[in-house]
């Protein structure tokens, strides 16, 4: 298990809105070990999504260094960033972002067909418990089911890092819990490094590491040596 699998070194990200400059990431530094279930928690606007976007290669930073698995991704060009996303990152969106015109299985295949090594779409869907709904279109699935498809799509790429942006944000309590359980199981069973963003600090006990952010800065980076199973958490 690699130490400091993910490492942020004094990362800055500024957005220019006309004449106003908003500093979304204001010298962010933290690290996450391999196989950890990390939760980044903070209020809206705390800069956690920016961090996740930069980590996921969706956005670029203005300053600082980001290392993922020993690779510096902070200065990659557009094409290399796309390769990085393609081979190293699995992304779970808040609003699932499934292609409405593709069935569940096809949505997974959309991801697997561009990867070198990938899990078979059927296996991936089986592993998230959606064997029965493979051939349904997103509009025919519930929110939880859609999020499972999204997770299956992310996992099928065999990523080094699974990034989840408020995966439960659009789900009800129980469904959200199920999804979190699924993610935790993936982390524990498969040793997958998971970084999850949430504004809900109630779920922090399930994480190995909790990173708190406020106003674009990391305020704490706490290692939790005894994570609690999701079922035991209430919020």
């Amino acid at each position: 298990m690699m130490k400091n699998f993910v490492q942020f070194d004094n990362v800055y990200k500024r957005y220019k809105m006309g004449e106003v400059t908003i500093t979304a990431a204001d010298g962010v530094s933290f690290s996450i070990d391999e196989g950890e279930f990390a939760v980044v928690v903070g209020l809206s606007g705390a800069g956690k999504t920016t961090v996740l976007n930069i980590l996921g290669g969706i956005d670029s930073c203005d300053e600082g260094r980001i290392m993922v698995g020993g690779k510096d991704i902070s200065h990659l060009n557009k094409h290399d960033l796309a390769s990085y996303r393609r081979y190293d990152i699995g992304f779970v969106f808040q609003f699932y972002n499934l292609i409405p015109n593709l069935t569940a299985k096809e949505n997974v295949e959309l991801a697997t067909q561009i990867c070198r090594e990938s899990i078979d779409a059927d296996t991936a869907l089986d592993s998230v418990g959606l064997s029965e709904r493979k051939n349904n279109f997103p509009s025919q699935l519930s929110g939880g089911e859609q999020q499972r498809v999204s997770i299956a799509r992310a996992l099928a790429k065999k990523p080094k890092l699974l990034l989840c942006d408020e995966p439960t944000g659009a789900l009800d309590y129980n469904t959200g819990k199920n999804i979190l359980r699924l993610l935790q199981n993936k982390c524990i069973d498969d040793g997958m490094t998971v970084v999850l963003i949430t504004h809900n600090s109630a779920i922090t006990p399930m994480a190995n590491r909790v990173i708190s952010m406020r106003s674009g800065k990391v305020v704490s980076n706490v290692v939790n040596d005894s994570p609690v199973p999701v079922d035991q958490i209430e919020w």
Binding site: D59, A82, R85, N101, L102, L110, I114, C115, P138
Partner: protein, 1119 residues
């Protein structure tokens, strides 16, 4: 264009009706015409077709009288526009037309000089002067195009026209009457159907009074002429008889001379033949003599040599025999001698040796015998004593026994001696006998030898004698032979000399004969030529006289059947051409707006849909704020309406100032019209603007309407992409299974938005169709040149001859042309302008009548069915016309048309419609033409086809033939092909406009729809970007659909393009041109490729747009 024409006509007072008469008009006629109800202005005038010679070429000039005011016309009709200089004021001045000024080589101030005769008539019969000074340059409204019409003189085509004052004409009667009728004075539009109908009625009215006027003419003018003619005819007949008599006299004299000559020649020939035969005989004999001589000599020589041989043999034998004889004699003598010698020897031996010896012996023997006898006798005595004593004692007994043995022994010896003695005696006797015998023999032999010797000598002597006589014979023979040889040779030489002499005489005789013969022949030829020339001259004179008489008769006949020709404006080729062209522009104008309107509507629809889509949230917000649907809709309505209105105005201005300008420029090449009047057709502008604005407003309302129905809450969110659906294709498992993932996605996306799919396909199809139609149009026109001049007709040059030349002269010229090895084929024919109409199409259509003198034309004019290729043959039961003419006249094979030939109408049956693309033609046989008109066609053109290997020398060939006096002009089909290619040039503008529109259509439609597509699928695109798709892969996600849609659209467009092209070609077809409906593969290829290029262009632009889509933005919430 039409407006330009109309104003031009009205300002120059173009007449509606022109009347010509075969006998002219006088003032009474004019008055009668003016009295007619429909005649408003009547202007009498003169016209003459005269010939000028320039550079050996004869050109026909039509000379008009300058329009003048008179009692019946208060205004000048057909007033020419003075371009330069002034109108003629003094005697001997003229004005000349503008366009052909350059071609004719004249300029202001030059002098036009007419030939002194026109078709045998003096020019002074027509005009007062032969030379006119050019003082002005004009354009007449009577001539709109560069077609100058036809004439009955010269090569039949008018090169240019000019005007001189009417008092310069030498006519007694007016030739033309120009009438401006109520139809145009009352202001009907010159090109309208009402005008046409009215003029048609008026025309009949004018034709109605022609009989009355002609009748008046017959009574006054005709009678005198008739009498004059009949006198002339009588005189001519007398003269003709006289000439014929003279000619027949001369002919009979010549005939006699010929006969005499022939007889003499035959006689001389016969004599010569006889002499020759004799000579031949002599020669033969000589040859025989020579042969005999040779044979005789040979034989004699043989005999001589035989005799010689025999003699030699004899001599040899004699010598041999003599030698043998001598030898033998010598031998015998030798033998005899030796025998003699031996005999002598034996004789001696015997007598000198043997005989004495033998006698000695014998004497010894005798002595022995006697001794023995004594002993014996004594012994016997003793014995007998003893015996007689009888006492014989022993010693006595022994003595007795010895005595007895002695006795025995001596007795024996005695006998032996005795025997030997006998023998000896015998031997001796024998010897003696033998010697005698030998002696006898020897004697006999000597005797014999002597005999033999004598005999042999005698024989030898005989032989010798014989030989000697033979030798003398031989000598005699030899002498005889020599003599005979010499005499024979001498005889032969004499004979040879005689023969040679004979031959020489014969040769001299022959030469003499030939000379005489030639001389006679030349004399005969000369007299024959004289006779022929006399006859030819006489015939020429006679035929000239006859022609004059016939002309006079014809003229009189014409006067007899005098008639009026009433023409309206349609008979002016330029006028009808202008109408046709205006109509053609009209039909294009009808086709294109519809098409472009459809294109514009499609563009608007997609653009407005896009705009409304983009403003969706705004609509939702407005709606939520409480604005009424109408208020919101009006915003877009007004917006699009304003855009449409301003667009219409800009478009109208550009349209009005550019397009008609381009078109008129194109046609302006062909027409003489004053600078184009810019006629703003307010109604059409308004109509197109209204239609444009209306379309756009409707489209924007329709686009809004859909959104306005939706609740504001939903509206305020971005439009959710349509949920996925299974498409029909997925149920066809075998295909679906074999498609790869991306094509599956593409397939499903394609059918996701059916409306968008349809719009894209229509837009792209429209683009392809426009391109295909544009290039198809070009193909069709390009093809005319190819098909017409390489397929249907294949003549390369046309030589114009003088129609009035005699048939013999034309035949001679044809044989000359045929003899030119560079010209593969040539056909003599008649070509003349004619008009025709039919039951279904009453308007006269102009075409050309083509009549060929013989079948030579068949390789150059293919009369055949366009589709089946079946060849047609011209028959005497009807005419063949070209397909386009059949289409225009709406007639089929077997129908009849009314054909106007030589100003008369004839009903002709159509036996076939032949393939032809350019020009209208009436093909008929000379027989049929004669049957119709009663006249022989006046062949005046030769169509030639140049051999392949001399194609490059076309110009040289043309120049060579131009030098021939009988050929007036040479024209080449290359010029016609170039004319068509020129037409193509002007078409390129239209093609460019069409392709530009096509590109615009494709780009706008694809841009709009792709934009909408991307806008709706921003989230999808962002998602797949997050998933790690590279830029190009992401773009392909959208492109693939565009490409498939473009392909589908382009394919549909190819079919539509084909239809559109056929439609356009149909719409712009002219009366005399058939566009083959051909679309080459290249055109389809271009349509397809260009469409794809446009599509690729849109894709290229979209690439940047897609690259700009931010992943971050699209991951945000969709509240």
């Amino acid at each position: 264009m039409i407006e330009t024409g109309r104003q031009y006509f009205s300002s120059q007072h173009l007449t509606d009706i022109n009347i010509m008469s075969t006998v002219g008009f006088d003032d009474d006629d004019i008055k009668d015409i003016y009295a007619l109800e429909s005649a408003e202005q009547v202007m009498p005038g003169y016209m003459a077709d005269l010939i000028i010679s320039q550079d050996k070429t004869d050109s026909v000039v039509r000379v008009y009288s300058v329009p003048e005011k008179s009692d019946t016309n208060k205004i000048k009709l057909n007033e020419p526009v003075l371009v330069d200089g002034r109108m003629p004021q003094n005697e001997g001045e003229c004005v000349i037309e503008n366009y052909f000024l350059a071609l004719s080589g004249y300029k202001l101030g030059d002098t036009v000089k007419f030939n002194s005769t026109v078709e045998g008539n003096a020019t002074s019969d027509y005009v007062k002067h032969l030379e006119y000074k050019i003082v002005g340059i004009i354009d007449s409204p009577m001539y709109l195009t560069y077609a100058r019409g036809n004439s009955t003189v010269g090569d039949g085509s008018i090169t240019f026209y000019m005007m001189i004052p009417s008092d310069e004409f030498a006519y007694e009667r007016y030739t033309n009457v120009y009438v401006r009728t109520k139809a145009s004075v009352n202001g009907y539009s010159d090109f309208s159907d009402e005008y046409k109908d009215m003029v048609a009625d008026e025309k009949e009215e004018f034709e109605g009074i022609s009989d009355k006027c002609i009748d008046r003419f017959n009574k006054t003018v005709l009678a005198d002429s008739k009498k004059e003619l009949s006198d002339a005819k009588k005189e001519y007949a007398d003269k003709k008889q006289e000439t014929f008599d003279k000619m027949s006299d001369g002919a009979s004299k010549l005939h006699k001379g010929e006969e005499e000559y022939n007889n003499q020649i035959a006689d001389a020939q016969r004599k010569l033949d006889e002499a020759e035969a004799k000579l031949e005989e002599g020669k033969k004999k000589l040859e025989q003599g020579q042969k005999d001589y040779k044979d005789g000599i040979e034989e004699a020589r043989n005999k001589l040599s035989d005799a010689q041989t025999q003699y030699s043999d004899g001599l040899k034998k004699y010598n041999d025999a003599k030698l043998e004889y001598d030898t033998k004699i010598r031998e015998a003598e030798n033998q005899l001698n030796s025998a003699q010698k031996e005999f002598d020897t034996q004789y001696q031996l015997f007598y000198f040796t043997t005989k004495p010896q033998a006698e000695n012996k014998l004497a010894l023997l005798k002595a022995g015998i006697n001794l023995c006898d004594e002993i014996i006798s004594r012994s016997q005595q003793r014995l007998d004593e003893i015996k007689h004593d009888g006492i014989i004692g022993e010693a006595l007994s022994d003595e007795v026994i010895s005595l007895e043995s002695k006795l025995d022994e001596y007795s024996e010896k005695l006998s032996e001696y005795q025997l030997r003695y006998d023998e000896g005696t015998n031997q001796l006797a024998e010897g003696e006998r033998q010697l005698n015998e030998a002696k006898a023999k020897l004697d006999a032999a000597v005797l014999e030898l002597e005999t033999q010797k004598t005999n042999g000598a005698v024989q030898l002597n005989d032989a010798k004698n014989q030989l000697d006589s033979a030798e003398s014979q031989l000598e005699t023979g030899k002498l005889e032979y020599e003599t005979a040889m010499t005499t024979g040779l001498l005889d032969l030489q004499t004979a040879q000399a005689e023969i040679t002499e004979g031959e020489k005489q014969l040769y001299d005789g022959k030469t003499d004969f030939e000379n005489q013969k030639l001389l006679g022949l030349q004399k005969l030829k000369k007299s024959r030529e004289q006779l022929e020339k006399g006859r030819y001259d006489a015939y020429i004179q006679l035929s000239e006289a006859e022609e004059k008489l016939n002309d006079a008769q014809e003229k009189l006949d014409k006067l007899d059947e005098a008639k009026w020709i009433v023409n309206d404006r349609d008979s002016n080729p330029g006028y009808s051409g202008l109408v046709d062209d205006a109509n053609r522009v009209d039909s294009i104008a009808r086709v294109f707006p519809i098409f472009f309107l459809l294109v514009a509507a499609l563009v608007c629809l997609t653009t407005m849909t896009r705009m409304v889509e983009e403003r969706r949230t705004e609509i939702g917000t407005l709606k939520a704020l409480g604005y009424s649907n109408a208020a919101i809709a009006s915003k877009y309505f007004i917006y699009s309406g304003t855009a449409a209105l301003s667009g219409s105005i800009v478009g109208s201005v550009i349209g009005v100032f550019t397009l008609p300008y381009i078109i008129v420029q194109t046609y302006g090449i062909m027409y003489t019209l004053p600078a184009t009047k810019l006629v703003v057709s307010w109604s059409s502008l308004l109509a197109s603007s209204i239609i444009g604005v209306f379309c756009i407003c409707i489209v924007s309302l329709a686009a809004c309407y859909h959104d306005l129905k939706i609740a504001p809450a939903i509206l305020m969110r971005p439009k959710a992409p349509k949920p996925g659906k299974r498409i029909l294709l997925e149920h066809i498992r075998p295909i679906w299974k074999h498609m790869n993932f991306t094509s599956k996605v593409t397939a499903r996306n394609l059918f996701r938005y059916k409306a968008r799919f349809l719009m894209t396909v229509i837009g792209v199809a429209g683009c392809t169709a426009l391109i295909v139609a544009a290039f198809g149009l070009r193909d069709s026109i390009t093809d005319i040149a190819d098909k017409q001049f390489k397929g249907v007709t294949s003549y390369d040059q046309v030589y114009a001859l003088s129609e009035s030349q005699s048939a013999d002269k034309k035949a001679y010229l044809m044989s000359q042309i045929h003899a030119d090895e560079r010209i593969e084929n040539a056909a003599l024919g008649y070509i003349g302008w004619s008009k025709a109409c039919s039951e279904n199409h009453k308007e006269m259509i102009v075409g050309r009548t083509l009549i060929f003198a013989n079948d030579d034309y068949k390789t150059m004019f293919k009369l055949r069915d366009r589709k089946s290729g079946e060849e047609y043959t011209l028959g005497n039961e009807g005419i063949i016309i070209n397909e386009r003419l059949g289409d225009v006249l709406r007639v089929r094979q077997g129908d009849s048309i009314t054909l106007n030939l030589e100003d008369n109408n004839y009903i002709c049956k159509i036996t076939a419609l032949t393939e032809n693309y350019s020009g209208n033609f009436f093909y008929m046989t000379p027989e049929y033409y004669r049957e119709l008109t009663g006249n022989d066609p006046k062949y005046g053109v030769v169509f030639t086809h140049i051999s392949e290997e001399y194609k490059s020398e076309e110009n040289e060939i043309a120049n060579d033939w131009m030098k021939n006096e009988d050929i007036m002009t040479v024209s080449s089909t290359t010029e016609q092909v170039n004319a068509i290619l020129d037409m193509l040039q002007s078409l390129n503008v239209i093609i460019f406009v069409m392709v530009f529109c096509a590109g615009l259509l494709a780009v706008v439609v694809l841009y709009n729809l792709t934009n909408i597509n991307i806008a709706e699928r921003v989230r999808e695109i962002a998602t797949i970007k997050v998933l790690g798709f590279y830029s190009l892969e992401t773009a392909n996600f959208i492109y693939r659909e565009n490409i498939v849609l473009t392909a589908v659209g382009a394919f549909v467009g190819l079919f539509l393009g084909n239809m559109l092209s056929v439609f356009i070609v149909d719409a712009i077809q002219m009366d005399n041109v058939m566009f083959p409906k051909v679309i080459t593969p290249l055109t389809y290829f271009l349509g397809f490729i260009l469409t794809f290029l446009f599509s690729m262009f849109v894709n290229f632009i979209m690439y940047f747009k897609m690259n700009k889509i931010s992943m971050v933005e699209s991951l945000k919430s969709i509240e």
